[in-house]
């Protein structure tokens, strides 16, 4: 039987496939149910972010960063603001730093809810998705109250934040933290240790440590492969060095180290750490002070030079590389975004060979891509 030659069949998965989390086309060459090769085709959501940047001044770029990773807009705003602040040497008021931490960690939880919710959905578990989305709505209500928008906030500006908050809002955030804790335990019971889910996700899409580093894995994906690295901890920016939190890493407890279950579990555990950070930030924040104090009125003082700044978004390391010509030019000469999801997606070509077609969907769900950010 082994001598019988079979033809490979080419199948297009996407671009409008619900489990590709956006518009991504995968060209699969399959031998029966087994994938022989997988070639991703990107660019369906390419909007030329980097070209647009070259004709906009720095404050006007912030709303564009929202639209890259639309599930974690706060973290994107912040990544860009960090780069410009480093360039201009702006000291952000402490109140703004606390506000940034609170909204970004809230947004991180919302983004991880999408990640594990839809991951369960891809595999066939519907209930945890709806349960988690209840919580996501609560976060959106909070962020809407703070910024005025549900998903694309334009909230973290260069040098500060866009709107002030009230002490009632802080109480509501506190209330959310309390309501979230039992829900995440419930998701553990419903999904994480569910026998069907574990057998579907464990031992699938294994990415060993060296491969993870080689293919640019960052964030929860990297930590799922057992590497303890978090920019908030290892290269603390803003005020993250004031907070006490753990960096959860994969351990291969249900299967092999670096499998889909490990990556999934890292996200679940990270949301708990985010709650810890928010609670500490709520205790530390003081509502006195002006939030616009350090917001630059214009960019005439922009120095000549370049910076590369990386920060931790829910998808991993977002790097912003800005080249500036100095004060006379109010726009960046070049602005490049190192997108974590783009880098993580590149591993698909490498690990797709020999897996089942249905496992491709599991792998895609577990590396948590957002096509808006992959294509930019």
């Amino acid at each position: 039987m082994e001598q019988i030659k079979t033809d490979l069949m080419t199948i297009n998965m996407g671009p409008q496939h619900p489990s590709t989390h956006g518009v991504l086309r995968l060209e699969l060459k399959t031998d029966g149910e087994i994938v022989d090769s997988c070639r991703p085709y990107l660019g369906y959501l390419h909007r030329c972010f980097e070209k647009h940047c070259e004709s906009l001044d720095y404050l006007k770029i912030v709303p564009f960063t929202d639209r890259m990773d639309y599930l974690a807009a706060m973290n994107n705003n912040w990544a860009f603001a960090l780069a410009v602040e480093k360039m201009m040497g702006i000291e952000v008021p402490e109140k703004c730093e606390y506000l940034r931490v609170i909204v970004s960690e809230l947004n991180r939880i919302a983004s991880h809810i999408i990640a594990f919710g839809t991951f369960g959905l891809d595999i066939g578990a519907f209930t945890p998705f709806l349960l988690a989305f209840n919580q996501r709505e609560l976060i959106f209500d909070l962020l809407e109250e703070a910024s005025g928008a549900r998903m694309l906030y334009n909230y973290i500006w260069v040098g500060g934040v866009a709107r002030d908050v009230t002490s009632e809002w802080l109480k509501k955030v506190k209330g959310f933290c309390e309501s979230y804790k039992p829900v995440i335990n419930e998701i553990d019971d419903l999904l994480s240790y569910n026998k069907i889910f574990v057998s579907r996700a464990a031992n699938v899409g294994i990415v060993p440590k060296d491969l993870a580093i080689d293919y640019g894995f960052t964030g929860p994906n990297l930590r799922g492969s057992g590497i303890e690295f978090d920019l908030r901890k290892d290269e603390p920016y803003s005020i993250y060095d004031k907070f006490d939190f753990d960096v959860p890493i994969g351990s291969g407890e249900e299967g092999t180290l670096g499998d889909c279950w490990d990556r999934y579990m890292c996200r679940i555990r990270e949301t708990r750490e985010s709650i810890k950070i928010i609670e500490q930030a709520l205790e530390g924040i003081s509502l006195e002070g002006d939030i616009y104090e350090a917001v630059p009125k214009n960019f005439n003082k922009m120095p000549k030079g370049e910076v590369y700044v990386r920060s931790e978004t829910p998808r991993g390391e977002m790097g912003i590389y800005i080249v500036s010509e100095g004060g006379k030019a109010p726009t960046p000469y070049r602005c490049k975004v190192r997108s974590p999801a783009f880098c993580a997606l590149s591993i698909l070509e490498k690990i797709a060979k020999g897996v089942m077609i249905s496992d491709i969907i599991v792998i895609l769900g577990s590396i948590d891509i957002v096509l808006g950010e992959v294509d930019r």
Binding site: G43, E50, G216, P303, G305, Y308, Y321, R334, K336
Partner: protein, 171 residues
């Protein structure tokens, strides 16, 4: 290791013709920049291999490759990080505009494959010996390289209007 130490180590290995210079804020005559090392573009492949495999350097992750249009020249900027040694460095390879070619690093770091394809897509820099040298974000038959400063937006593409008439030729 500090950028100077990395530079000296590379220079001892490859010589002055391939490892050109090291810069920081003062020597690069700008107000702000991270320290970087200029590399001869066609030597990138072997330099990258050494940077990864040497136990003291151990740059195991290529964070980012960015193209920059310098006017007369095109440049690729590599940001590298070592999880092992916890240090980082920036490399720059500058190539001419007419015949831009840089040695690939895709055989050294897996992620470079895609990052270099993106740089090719946007700037038209050819990465020599790249195993899969195609466009990545734009269509295969797209003309021109959008992030070059002299790029002109097309009026039509495959019969579709991609730039409205009133905007055409103004940018």
């Amino acid at each position: 290791m500090t950028p100077e130490e990395i530079f000296n180590k590379l220079k001892d290995k490859f010589g002055e013709s391939k490892i050109l210079s090291v810069h920081n804020n003062e020597s690069a005559e700008v107000d702000i920049c991270d320290p970087f090392i200029n590399i001869e573009p066609l030597a990138m492949t072997e330099v990258a291999k050494f940077l990864k495999n040497d136990s003291e350097l151990a740059f195991d992750q290529c964070c980012c490759i960015s193209g920059v249009d310098l006017g007369d020249d095109l440049q690729a900027v590599y940001h590298l990080y070592s999880f092992n040694q916890k240090h980082k460095i920036c490399l720059k390879a500058t190539t001419n505009r007419e015949n831009p070619a840089i040695g690939t690093t895709a055989l050294t770091w897996g992620i470079s494959g895609w990052l270099e394809r993106e740089t090719y897509d946007m700037f038209g820099i050819i990465f020599k010996n790249h195993p899969d040298h195609r466009r990545i974000l734009l269509e295969e038959d797209w003309e021109g390289y959008p992030l070059r400063k002299d790029y002109e937006f097309p009026r039509y593409w495959r019969g579709m209007e991609v730039t409205p008439e009133e905007d055409y030729g103004t940018d």
